[in-house]
């Protein structure tokens, strides 16, 4: 029967086979029967057998039942084959002729218990599996586990072979896993004795070996064997100061936190101890993950309270902008946190913003993808306003800056019922100063001003005087700001008046600038302007390239000649000519930054000084 016909028939029968698979447990006899029938149909061709069975997902769909069926059929085959035949089959799975070779590893775990291969023979195949794909097959851990389950003695040899491989390719992790599996399966007896001996060997070895040993215990986080005493002993013996050891220790503590709630009291104590030593990179990531998990799962009855987890997060601060994995995990955790307990999550946001806000705001400012999902979720869920209000009124500058970034992402404009409307004059002044100092998006500064205008009008006094001076400066500075204010919703009459005044002053300046007394050029000015414009053009182009998703996705081809272009299609034929598309970036240059750069710089310095004063409560003292 041709292969196409098989597929056809298989498709026809698919639903009935699926039903049969789902409804009938696959016992050993059935699997043997399937193998015998198939083997006969394929006339004993191992290659056809490999090809046909590996394509099972195509015929029967992707599910565990299919995995079990094919793995069981392979197991039935392995039981009747010699080691050499098994090796031949396994190598066939790696061959280039295998259409579904990646999928074939899905079936192996169920078949591995029936392998007769020694560690050395199996290692040969494992070694061969790598170069083919540049890395170990993704199911290898499961394959190894099944192998270790049935051949614990061989597992030691296999671990030894992995240990001899160069570090940094994941080999260490397999050693730790093999050790963990064998240890778990053999709490006593000879095998356990060998485990102990192997552990002694690792403990007395180099840093890498000690780290592997720690990691093997990390996988045993939920095991009763890993109690406080054991953990402390492991730390004492194995954590001697090397970064790799500390990383494994952090991993162990993270695993304990995630998997063994009853061990939290000593785990959190150890996490605190680690945090105090100053962790970085992956070490910090493990501790952050542990802390966030602890915080998220903490309840009133938990042995470790949220306060303690918050203390741990505080001790880990600040997270750096390049702690990408930790920030990503934080983002996911926040979404989860707001679903479970919005009020508590708000406190968590404030905590991280106040302790790591500088990095957080930088990360959001420089990378539009970071926290996008969270911001969208918060906006949809209606949490954005309360988050921003909480951060804006924080006493910590960094947190206020995170608040600005969130507003940029979420587009919060109204703060009707929030605490914003009860903010004190000092809090408002501090926030507006912060906006003026830190934000290069003048439209956004206008939005912030609109939020507070009414409250400031009500408060009056020195704040009001200062505010309208700031409004005037911003209005003199950019058109973006003026437009936002002019389009703003009432009550903004006073703001409108300030902006109108600025517009009149600008017009007057522009008219005066046309005076015959001011039309002269300065020698060298024209050349310098051309140079400056070229530089500016380059910077705009770079910015466009950086921020345009289209430009990043598309491969850029520089067209040297002509004003249109055409490309060959899939058949190699040239398509119709298309005109060049123009990409443009529009930006407004703030007037005052060029007209009075020293003045604006001085203004920023004074603003920063005033922020510090307000942070120190100078106004309250007054």
């Amino acid at each position: 029967m041709a292969r196409g016909e098989t597929v056809e028939r298989a498709n026809d029968d698919r639903s009935s086979i699926e039903a049969e698979l789902l409804n009938r447990p696959l016992d050993q006899a059935t699997l043997n029967g399937v193998f015998v029938e198939l083997w006969a149909e394929l006339k004993g061709s191992r290659a056809d057998f490999a090809v046909r069975t590996s394509a099972a997902f195509s015929y029967l769909g992707v599910c565990d039942e299919v995995r079990g069926l094919v793995g069981g059929v392979w197991g039935a085959a392995f039981r009747g084959w010699s080691s050499a035949e098994q090796i031949e089959f396994l190598r066939l799975l790696l061959s280039n002729e295998m259409v579904h070779r990646d999928l074939s590893f899905e079936f192996l775990p169920a078949a591995v218990p029936h392998l007769k291969l020694t560690a050395q023979e199996f290692w040969g195949w494992i070694g061969d599996s790598r170069p083919e794909r540049g890395g170990y097959p993704h199911r290898l851990p499961e394959i190894l586990k099944r192998y270790a389950d049935v051949k614990p003695t061989e597992a030691f040899e296999l671990a030894d072979l992995f240990l001899r491989q160069p570090a940094g390719t994941g080999n260490a992790r397999f050693v730790a896993l093999l050790l963990y599996w064998v240890r778990e399966n053999h709490p006593t007896g000879d095998i356990r004795q060998r485990v102990n001996e192997f552990e002694v060997l690792l403990a007395s070895g180099p840093i890498d070996h000690r780290s592997i040993l720690l990691e093997s215990w990390a996988f045993a986080a939920g095991s009763p064997e890993l109690d406080e005493a054991k953990a402390v002993d492991l730390k004492r013996r194995l954590v001697r100061g090397a970064a790799e050891e500390l990383k494994s220790w952090c991993f162990l503590l993270q695993r304990v936190t995630l998997n063994a709630p009853e061990k939290l009291p000593w785990a959190v104590r150890e996490l605190h101890a680690v945090a105090k030593t100053g962790v970085a990179g992956e070490q910090k990531y493990f501790v952050v993950v542990a802390a966030l998990h602890g915080w998220l799962t903490a309840k009133a009855t938990s042995p470790v309270s949220r306060t303690e987890w918050e203390a741990l997060l505080r001790a880990l601060a600040p997270l750096k902008a390049d702690d990408n994995a930790a920030w990503d995990h934080f983002e996911y955790s926040l979404v989860d946190a707001f679903e479970k307990d919005a009020a508590g999550a708000l406190a968590l946001v404030a905590l991280v913003a106040e302790t790591s806000g500088t990095s957080w705001s930088k990360l959001m400012e420089e990378n539009p993808d970071k926290f996008r999902w969270w911001c969208q979720t918060m906006n949809t869920a209606g949490h954005a306003e309360s988050i921003v209000a909480r951060l804006w009124l924080s006493n910590v500058r960094a947190a206020r800056r995170v608040g600005f970034q969130i507003v940029r992402r979420c587009g919060v404009n109204a703060f009707g019922s929030s605490s914003i409307q009860r903010a004190t004059a000092g809090e408002i002044e501090r926030l507006l100063l912060e906006a003026a100092v830190n934000l290069a998006e003048y439209e956004f500064v206008g939005r912030v001003h609109l939020v507070f205008a009414d409250r400031i009008n009500n408060l009056g006094g020195r704040l009001e005087e200062w505010f309208y001076d700031e409004v005037l400066t911003q209005a003199l500075n950019t058109n973006q700001y003026r437009q936002v204010i002019l389009k703003g919703a009432p009550p903004t009459a006073k703001l409108h008046a300030a902006v109108k005044e600025a517009e009149q002053r600008i017009q007057k300046s522009e008219k005066a600038s046309d005076s015959p007394a001011l039309r002269m050029r300065i020698p060298g000015q024209t050349r310098a302007e051309a140079l400056s414009m070229r530089r500016f053009g380059r910077e705009v182009a770079k910015g466009f390239q950086k921020h345009s998703i289209f430009a990043q996705l598309a491969h850029t081809i520089q067209l040297l000649y002509g004003k249109s272009w055409r490309m060959p299609d899939a058949t190699g034929a040239l398509g119709a000519a298309a005109n060049l598309m123009k990409s443009e970036a529009v930006t407004e240059l703030p007037r005052l930054e060029f007209m009075t750069p020293e003045g604006m710089r001085h203004r920023r310095i004074m603003a920063m000084r005033r922020i510090v004063e307000l942070d120190n409560g100078v106004d309250e003292v007054e």
């Binding site: 005066a512 005076s515 007394a517 001011l518 002269m520």
Partner: protein, 614 residues
């Protein structure tokens, strides 16, 4: 320019001309004939008799003239019916000269032309015009009128005769009306001025073309004029050429300031010649040019434009969204500061103040100039953004302007703001606007701001400007000094904050300068490369040094400089033109010009200046 001023200078020029243009061993004598020739062409048709420049016989001192029969110039109308004859005289029309200097003889011959020569067949009317460019007396005029009455109104029975007279005023009026072109100037300068007029009409003031083509060509033109005619006539021709050029460049949007630019180069050339000249007429003419032409034009210019200049951000606005523009606007602001300052300085120097009325007028004039200056600075931050070290001249002029109007309190208010702005640039050496360029090279500054080079192109290790600023601060009285000098020194010299924080900045080397003995002569010629640099380093090695320590050291330094070399303020040329020359040649001012305020020669510093601050 001011209405009526053109008449003054045209009168002076026409009055300075001889009867005929001729070349002598002593040089070319420019004649009224060339002017009348061009007027005649404009008014009366084709010339019959030309005022050719008589080429000299090298063996003769004087040009040998041909027989003229009283006719210096004649023109025939296009229909050939009217013959116009000019009899030219450069002497005054007086009773004595009527006969002695040939008025009668020339007119008698002129009214009897030979109408039988070919080309005159159709002539039906003859008009004879006596054109003279000198004074007249009533008796001379009466003699002329009697002559007119007595003359036969018919010539050869076929032509009528009329006799007219152009005196100097008439000549000036007609010239201004019909001859405001390069054709007015002597023939050898016609081409040069014609081309200059074209350039002035088409090049923007301050553009590369203006600076590299027009300005050098103009300076060469003025030098050529003054070289060829070293007396009054040369000095008189320069303003006339300027007026003609202004007329031709009227459509150029930048000519208002551009013309002042050319006037200034002319003034410097005139004062340079003034320096070595003993010709009283020439010296008088240079003074006239300086006061009545240049300073009067500056005065008119600022009266016309000060409202725009004092409008908020009118100059700052020119930055146009680029740091190049920020630097350019600072240069423009300082251009105006320099000229308002110079104007004020000249009012202080030049206006009489012997009577109470004169004193009042002078004070009002000085107050007005100070108002212009303060208005300019208040409206434009660019005024507090010096870019080059040489702009210490503008700072000194600012001080003079405010002190002379008894407004040193305003100077005391401005200085801390200026220091604050300079400090921000000093500590942020890689910032958008670099600190003062010690080499006074604007190209470097532009390149720096245009390219934002990481590598700083400008060396500002030494500064005369900062020393000048500190010295000027000492003129503001004890209270100001004690409150500010320490801060000025710490911020600008050390580049340190008031709390003593200092980045990786080396302290500035404060630098003074002793001019050479012939500074006036040199500065009128160009950049004064000579003289002696006097570096001092810092006035205190302590960041927290108090003001008195700094002033004591500065006083000692000034005394030492005075001891090592005396400076005479008896200049052969007024100080105003020397300051102008310093500005234009980017040459430093001698410190003794301002030190008198803060460090009186009696030896006691900080004796209260006329109007001490606070």
């Amino acid at each position: 320019m001011k209405p009526g001023l053109d008449k003054v200078f045209f009168t002076a020029y026409l009055a300075s001309l001889k009867e005929r243009t001729r070349s002598e061993q002593a040089g070319v004598k420019w004649g009224i004939d060339w002017v009348v020739y061009n007027l005649g062409q404009a008014l009366y048709g084709k010339p019959v008799r030309l005022p050719f420049l008589r080429q000299p016989d090298p063996t003769l001192l004087k040009t040998k003239t041909e027989a003229e029969f009283g006719v210096d110039l004649s023109f025939l109308s296009s229909d050939e019916k009217i013959l116009t004859i000019f009899a030219l005289k450069d002497e005054a029309l007086t009773n004595k000269n009527w006969v002695n200097n040939g008025f009668l003889e020339d007119l008698s011959k002129a009214i009897t032309p030979d109408l039988t020569v070919p080309g005159m067949e159709a002539v039906t009317a003859v008009q004879v015009i006596l054109a003279h460019n000198s004074d007249e007396e009533a008796n001379g005029v009466t003699l002329f009128e009697n002559f007119v009455k007595a003359a036969n109104p018919q010539i050869a029975g076929r032509a009528t005769l009329s006799i007219g007279r152009w005196n100097l005023s008439e000549l000036v009026d007609l010239t201004l009306k019909y001859l405001l072109t390069p054709a007015l100037v002597p023939q050898q300068f016609f081409g040069q001025l014609n081309y200059l007029c074209y350039q002035a009409a088409n090049f923007a003031h301050g553009s590369d073309e203006w600076e590299k083509q027009l300005v050098p060509a103009w300076r060469r033109f003025v030098d050529d004029v003054l070289q060829l005619e070293r007396g009054v006539r040369g000095a008189s021709l320069v303003p006339v050429a300027l007026i003609i050029l202004r007329q031709h460049a009227g459509a150029n949007r930048t000519i208002e300031t551009g013309w002042i630019d050319l006037v200034e180069w002319s003034a410097i050339a005139l004062w340079r010649q003034f320096h070595g000249s003993t010709d009283a007429g020439f010296r008088r003419q240079v003074n006239l040019f300086w006061i009545t032409f240049y300073l009067a034009e500056l005065d008119r210019f600022y009266r016309a434009h000060i409202e725009a200049l004092n409008t908020e951000n009118s100059i700052d606005q020119l930055a146009h969204g680029s740091m190049v523009g920020t630097v350019a606007s600072a240069m423009i602001a300082h251009w105006h500061m320099a000229r308002i300052g110079l104007l004020s300085f000249e009012k202080l120097q030049g206006m009489k103040d012997t009577t109470p009325e004169e004193q009042r007028k002078k004070y009002e004039a000085l107050l007005e100039a100070s108002n212009w200056m303060i208005g300019l600075i208040n409206a434009n931050d660019s005024c507090l953004r010096p870019v080059l070290d040489i702009q210490h001249i503008e700072l000194v002029l600012l001080m003079f302007t405010l002190f002379s109007a008894e407004r040193s309190d305003q100077f005391a208010l401005l200085l801390p703001g200026l220091v604050q702005r300079l400090f921000l640039r000093r500590v942020n050496a890689r910032g958008e606007i670099p600190f003062l360029d010690g080499y006074n090279n604007l190209d470097h500054v532009f390149e720096q701001v245009a390219s934002s080079n990481e590598e700083i192109l400008i060396t500002t290790q030494s500064s005369y400007y900062v020393l000048v600023l500190i010295e000027l601060a000492c003129a503001l009285g004890d209270k100001f000094v004690s409150e500010n000098l320490s801060q000025f020194h710490r911020r600008l010299v050390w580049g340190a904050t008031d709390s003593g924080e200092q980045r990786d900045l080396k302290p500035l080397d404060l630098m003074s300068w002793q001019p050479p003995d012939d500074w006036p002569k040199q500065v009128l010629t160009g950049y004064v490369d000579e003289g002696t640099a006097v570096p001092h380093g810092v006035f205190s090695k302590k960041l927290d040094a108090n003001s008195e320590e700094i002033r004591t050291e500065l006083t000692r330094f000034v005394a030492e400089m005075r001891k090592s070399k005396s400076f005479s303020d008896e200049f052969p040329v007024p100080l105003g033109p020397l300051i102008l020359a310093s500005i234009r040649h980017r040459s430093p001012l001698p410190p003794e010009i301002w030190r008198i305020y803060g460090f009186p020669l009696t030896g006691n510093p900080a004796s209260p200046s006329p109007e001490t601050a606070n």
